[in-house]
Amino acid sequence: MKVHTPTKTLGEALGHVERIVPSRSSNPGLSLLRIDLDDGHMVLSGSNLDLDIRARVAADVRGEGSVAVPAAVIGQVVRALPGDAVELDFGDTELEITSGGFSTKLQLVTLGSAPSLTFPDTWDGEIDAGALASALEHVRYAAAVADYQAVFRGVRLELHDGRTRAVATDGFRLASYNSELTSGLDADLLLPARSVDELTKMLAAGTASLALSSGQFSVSNGPYTINVKLMEGTFPDYQRVIPSQFPVAVTLRAQGLAEAVTRVAVMADKSANHRVDMYVKDGVLRITAEGSYGRAQEAIEVSQEGTEDEISLAYNAKYLADAVGPVSGDLRLQFSGATTPSVASDLGDPSYLAMVVPLRTG
């Protein structure tokens, strides 16, 4: 069994797999990478239990068979290879890797120790890969990082006829991306946010094939296929909490606001929810922050509308910056009140909507 391939091609595929496969695990089999040579293909696969990944590597393959190696070790070796091409020579107990003047012999691991993974043969639907990635990337930030209620660590993906919506919330803010993408599926899924990160990194151009089986959502795009283990739980009824009355609304350049918030928030008190205060009046939005190191303020001219002349509120600077982040052009910021959720939307892309609850102070 021998394989010839450009070092870069193998490195890229290993990079994706290595990110997922844990380098250390209480279940040692989980840190293994499985390599299958079959019918002129080389296929790498691995898993972290939440996510399985399979990568096909374009290569010149002679022979067939399957082996397992520690993913972290082969990853390290391949990253450091000196030559543009690499030769893999599979022995009975060792894998010899040669590139340029370098060669190494890596111990093989019993194949039975590696997790047994199944990827779908047939697909239930397909979707524009780049558009799916963009929908997920728009909302991912709003999912919780640390453990709170499990559903807050997930991203909800609603796939229906002519409508694809991604939603995430950590209970304090919410982001939603509602597009007219067609997928051929009809399901509401809850994907672990960490798996969403890998999914979006893997999705490139073209079409992604989708399959749904019990507790698992599979996506295949280009050389990669991944199985995402779905989360259980009821996602909150988020539509109901989106306010509809906005006494004050402003329009401004998203980038200008994001930069101002970042600048001013340097002075914000991290122990006090990273508070920045905002005051809108007479077409000027003022952001101020004050903490132990001093105070900062910035005024931005905005186009202001609404039934009220002014509003004064406070936000967690990070939440505000996150909500503005996905907007590239003009941003619309609508205030429902000083203590009720504010809504941010993208004037150039009506699919995106973000909601942030202001801080309660005093």
Binding site: Y238, I242, P243, E310, P358
Partner: protein, 358 residues
């Protein structure tokens, strides 16, 4: 003859902000929360000219003074200034009774150091405060607490008012009745109805008559009108509770009226709580019936009470819980205890998924 000094910092919280942030000097400044429910904790003298006053809702204050600069409270700075002031007091006498962070009675009958004259001593204290904290204080000097306190307010800001013992009676006689301790708008109205408009009027009334009309407070006013105020300055009085109550002129049956009076009582207590930079663990409601039976109910919410909203929500639910067996109510009171220093609270509220949108 005792010598009492009452020292009261001028627009304390606002003055600290103006001292620490020079760009605020000369501007109308209100310290407090900027949100819809924010309340003015202290207004600078510039803001007071527009009619902005303590305890006023911030939205109201902003209407009165559109250029109002709203500054969130910096409790640490106020505490630091307060500690500095108290250490100055401590140089002159051990008998210091703090009323709040920015106000205290000092008994300087036998001061720890010169000058022996209470007037010069009050001047020295004010000079020390100005030099060491960059803030100004007003002071009143008299032979009793009541007159000293009224006097400190006579020439604010940055003023010193001395009422010599021989001037005491005339000073009290000239005071409008509203300036007397414990005389709020309601009592003032009843005083007016009785023809009492000044200290002089008050002094003409007999002890029995005042007690009959105003209860225990009447007896106190009788003595105060004679400049007879022997209340001692009690040092280090650790405040254990803050409370207020309201007695109805006529017994009240109407629930709505009782609740609205209760809310006013809560307002008073909450303001004192906030001004003292304290929060409280326990809230007690007191209801006195026509037959003088008293019912009290207490509750200790999970998070300490630190605002009018907090207090009102607890007091209201306690009040709604008290079954009132047809008895008309004579008095409602609210007190808070288990006081603790107040941390500035900045809370990130959650999205409320199970409720309708606003």
């Amino acid at each position: 003859m005792r010598k009492i000094v009452h020292v009261d910092m001028d627009a304390f919280f606002a003055a600290v902000e103006q001292r620490d942030h020079p760009e605020l000097r000369g501007l109308p400044v209100a310290v407090g929360g900027a949100g819809d429910r924010g309340v003015v904790m202290t207004a600078s003298y510039e803001a007071r000219r527009y009619g902005v006053g303590s305890a006023m809702p911030m939205a109201h204050a902003r209407r009165r003074c559109p250029d109002l600069v709203i500054v969130p409270p910096s409790f640490e700075a106020y505490h630091a200034a307060s500690r500095a002031i108290r250490s100055i007091f401590g140089r002159y006498t051990d008998l210091v009774e703090p009323l709040s962070l920015d106000e205290a009675f000092l008994d300087v009958t036998h001061p720890l150091r010169s000058p022996p004259s209470a007037t010069l001593l009050a001047r020295a204290i004010r000079d020390d405060i100005r030099r060491e904290t960059g803030l100004t204080a007003s002071a009143g000097v008299a032979n009793g607490k009541f007159i000293a306190k009224v006097a400190s307010g006579m020439q604010k800001p940055d003023g010193l008012t001395v009422v010599r013992p021989e001037e005491s009676l005339a000073f009290v006689a000239a005071l409008p009745i509203e300036r007397f301790f414990g005389v709020g708008p309601k009592t003032a109205e009843r005083m007016h109805a009785l023809g009492i408009r000044s200290g002089a009027d008050l002094r003409e009334r007999g002890h029995a008559e005042l007690v009959a009309h105003f209860g225990k407070a009447g007896g106190f006013l009788y003595r105060i009108a004679r400049a007879d105020d022997e209340r001692p300055v009690v040092p280090d009085r650790e405040r254990k509770s803050i409370g207020a109550e309201r007695t109805f002129e006529r017994d009240v049956h109407d629930d709505a009226r009782i609740l609205s009076e209760l809310e006013k009582v809560c307002d008073t207590v909450a303001e004192r709580l906030v001004r003292s930079l304290l929060a409280a663990r326990t809230v007690t409601l007191k209801v006195k019936y026509r037959d003088f039976k008293v019912v009290t109910r207490s509750h200790t919410p999970r998070t300490p009470v630190a605002s009018l909203d907090d207090l009102w929500s607890v007091a209201r639910s306690l009040a709604l819980d008290v079954d009132r067996p047809a008895g008309a109510v004579r008095l409602v009171g609210v007190s808070v205890r288990s006081l603790l220093p107040r941390a500035e609270r900045v809370v990130q509220p959650r999205l409320v998924f199970d409720a309708a949108p606003p």
